[in-house]
């Protein structure tokens, strides 16, 4: 994080906050998906969020005491 420009810092903070809730970066997902599976349909933002929510609590959602 050498670049101290504010938009970048804000974006990273939001990314961290979302990941704390178990929601991975949507843009990274789209970039990856388009590169690897160019023919398949990418999940929408809503569907992506629901998938991540289900994944977080699939086995109950274990965190520390």
């Amino acid at each position: 994080m050498k670049c101290a420009c504010w938009p970048e810092l804000l974006r990273r903070t939001a990314e961290t906050a979302r990941l704390m809730l178990g929601v991975a970066d949507y843009d990274a997902y789209v970039a990856h998906f388009v590169a690897v599976h160019p023919d398949a349909t990418v999940l929408s933002r809503e569907a992506f969020f629901r998938e991540r929510l289900a994944a977080r609590y699939r086995s109950g959602g274990l965190r520390c005491c």
Binding site: F49, L53, G60
Partner: protein
């Protein structure tokens, strides 16, 4: 191994030696001041300095040794996220972002409660164990489990135990984890009940979190899921408003009566709530409350750090109190072994092994980052424990003991409590106790063992010095209570679900229909079993004349440290399988220490002659009294007396189960390590080295 060698070969320059020497000197001097100081008070600055210097040295030197010589991290070796990225579970993540994720997953109520309870022996024993424990056990476990999981495609702790130690060990460990879940949930539930008993302000704010979370859940589900951060921000603002409204409710006698409940009723409500919450869809209640508690937790920890570093309050608790001998009112048992199981999270916590082998290993960009994330996040968690210890120690010791001593020991009026606590040498007047209760907006602060209230009063004292003065103490107190209760309710909900899946997994072996997680009857039955499990211990704890925490926290501590011993045993076996037996002392030493602590503590909990410590002695006392038709508190009838005896036998059985699990795992682990040591080949199940990118 070339890159790793190159890092090790780097020698320290003279300037580095001077700088690190200065850090070591400052840390040593700070610890010296803490240990030798014999005045009325000592500044928390010494404690903060000692902790930070210890962490800096441990990170710079010990974690580097672990990374280069023990785990042999190789930046060129692709991580699971690099090998098969899917944009979902497996995605290479910026290390700072991942650190935040990992820290949020390991930080919880544990490091805040344990040190507060341990403060009854003075601040020094707790400090030394938190620092030594994290450097040589806790952070080592977190780091190595993370590293080994990265080398195994992000496998979970259970999978790694099955693969490296065999299916039998895997089953034994799974039974242990289920038993830990049950006792953990009961103890955390007890902490909430103790904090909310007869507190209309507290109950109102916690009750308000339910409609707030439901609204958030509905908003996220139907109003735009990607707005999760914005929705959470509104939720946090509503929570703060609920704290303010709670003060109004508590001030109005008619409304306050609706939200005032004795401990027993709260326990029953919590059990019913736990069942309902765990069978509702996750998006409706669990997830939004999880979001609120995550942000409140990070915010509170940050605020506490700022508050302590700005005010640098004086510690008023003595370095060592007379209760190091085991006669303390908060938890029973002598310094060894009970201090070492009372403070679990913050020095070493077996639970972290489950988290470190969960989502984090699937997101590492580069193996070398495991050091900062595994070892570094645990050091940060340890600092949270140090801050909790400071918050408990800034209180007047008399007030600390008045809050945490059970009524059976000190009475239930302010006069009786003040007289008894003062007679122990911690001067306090009835007026002091009444004034403190009034300051935090409560009718009483007595008999609230469990850590939450003590921490809240300590935090309120510190926060109100930074922001707003004494008039805001009541707000900050209820803010701290809300944070802890909200967090614990989320854990109860999530934990009940985890226990439910485990029960269905086991039950499915005998009755296939029971194992189907999508079947509603099976779901209800397994959730009911899970809730009955922890509900039993919660109810027993609430009815306990010694306050419950006194009996049950050590059981939780034993369970958690036992899981850490299992995780470290696995690490030891893997090191031998990798033919790195020469450095296996890094895990053997903490494993041995944890085994000695948990087995000694377990044996004392079962067989000690002191009824406050030993379950069998306690059962014998109640059986004998019942034989003479005597009724001892809290029992009111002979039938109650029998129930007390039955509870004791259940506790004995659970302790025996914990000891059996840890013993079996140690024996299986030792045998596997021996086989690996005598085998000339590397036998660990790592992802092959050919996958290395030679770039």
């Amino acid at each position: 191994m070339a890159p790793a060698r190159a890092i090790v070969a780097g020698r320290l320059s003279a300037a580095h030696i001077l700088a690190w020497g200065a850090v070591a000197l400052l840390g040593g001097a700070s610890l010296g001041v803490l240990a030798l100081h014999r005045g009325e008070t000592v500044s928390a600055a010494w404690l903060v300095a000692a902790a930070l210097c210890t962490y800096a040295l441990a990170y710079r030197f010990y974690s580097r040794f672990l990374a280069n010589r023990v785990a042999r991290l190789d930046p060129a070796r692709p991580t699971p996220a690099m090998r098969h990225p899917d944009g979902l579970d497996y995605c290479p993540t910026h290390p700072v972002v991942l650190f935040g994720h990992h820290f949020a997953a390991i930080a919880g109520a544990g490091p805040l409660v344990g040190p507060v309870l341990a403060a009854q022996m003075g601040y020094l024993p707790g400090t030394l164990w938190i620092l030594a424990g994290v450097v040589f056990a806790g952070a080592v476990q977190d780091f190595l489990i993370l590293s080994f999981s990265v080398r195994r495609d992000g496998h979970s702790l259970g999978d790694m135990i099955r693969r490296e130690l065999g299916p039998f060990a895997g089953t034994v460990a799974a039974v242990g984890v289920l038993a830990i879940m049950v006792i953990l949930l009961a103890v955390l539930g007890l902490v909430v009940v103790k904090a909310l008993a007869n507190s209309p302000w507290g109950v109102f704010t916690i009750a308000a979190t339910i409609p707030i979370a439901l609204c958030m859940g509905l908003c996220c589900r139907f109003g735009g899921a990607h707005q999760v951060l914005e929705v959470s921000a509104v939720g946090v603002a509503l929570l703060l408003a609920a704290i303010w409204a709670g003060g109004r409710v508590a001030a109005d006698p008619a409304m306050a009566a609706w939200f005032t409940f004795p401990p027993r009723d709260l326990a029953l409500m919590l059990i019913a709530y736990g069942f309902l919450a765990s069978v509702l869809p996750v998006w409706l209640l669990l997830a939004p409350r999880d979001y609120l508690s995550t942000f409140l937790k990070i915010g509170t920890i940050a605020a506490l750090a700022v508050g302590i570093c700005v005010t640098l309050p004086d510690l008023r608790m003595p370095a060592i109190t007379r209760f190091a001998d085991g006669s303390g009112p908060v938890f029973s048992g002598a310094l060894f072994p009970f201090l070492f199981i009372t403070i679990a999270c913050g020095s070493v916590s077996g639970f972290h092994a489950l988290v470190s082998s969960g989502t984090t290993p699937k997101m590492l960009q580069n193996e070398a980052q495991a050091r900062a994330i595994g070892y570094g996040a645990m050091l940060t968690e340890s600092f949270v424990a140090i801050m909790a210890l400071i918050a408990a120690s800034v209180l007047q010791p008399g007030a600390y003991f008045a809050m945490n001593a059970p009524p059976a020991a000190v009475g239930s009026t302010v006069q009786a409590v003040a007289a008894n606590v003062s007679s122990w040498g911690f001067a306090i007047t009835p007026d002091d106790l009444t004034r403190l209760a009034h300051q935090v907006g409560e009718s009483t602060i007595l008999a609230r063992a469990g850590g939450a209230q003590t921490l809240a009063v300590g935090m309120a004292t510190i926060f109100s010095r930074v922001l707003g003065g004494g008039g805001t103490m009541a707000f900050w107190y209820h803010f701290a209570i809300l944070f802890e209760a909200l967090f614990i309710l989320t854990t109860l909900d999530a934990g009940t679900r985890v226990a439910r899946f485990m029960i269905q997994d086991f039950g499915g072996n005998f009755l296939a229909a029971f194992g189907r997680t999508d079947s509603l009857p099976a779901n209800l039955a397994a959730s009911g079993l899970a809730v009955c499990g922890w509900g039993f211990f919660l109810y027993q704890g609430v009815m306990d004349p010694l306050g419950g925490i006194n009996t049950l926290w050590p059981l939780f501590g034993i369970a958690n440290q036992m899981l850490a011993a299992i995780a470290l045993t696995l690490c030891t076996v893997i090191l031998f399988k990798l033919k790195r037996g020469r450095v296996a002392w890094v895990t053997c030493v903490p494993t041995a220490w944890l085994a000695v602590c948990t087995l000694t503590a377990g044996a004392e909990k079962m067989f000690s002659d002191v009824p406050a410590i030993g379950f069998l002695a306690h059962a014998a006392k109640y059986s004998a009294a019942a034989g003479d038709f005597q009724v001892l508190a809290p029992a009111k009838t002979i039938a109650d007396m029998r129930q007390v005896v039955i509870n004791d036998y259940v506790d004995v059985s659970l302790t025996a189960l914990f000891m059996a699990v840890v013993s079996v795992m140690l024996v299986v682990g030792a045998a596997a390590a021996w086989r690996a040591a005598t085998d000339p080949n590397v036998t660990a199940a790592e992802v092959p080295d050919e996958m290395r990118v030679l770039a």
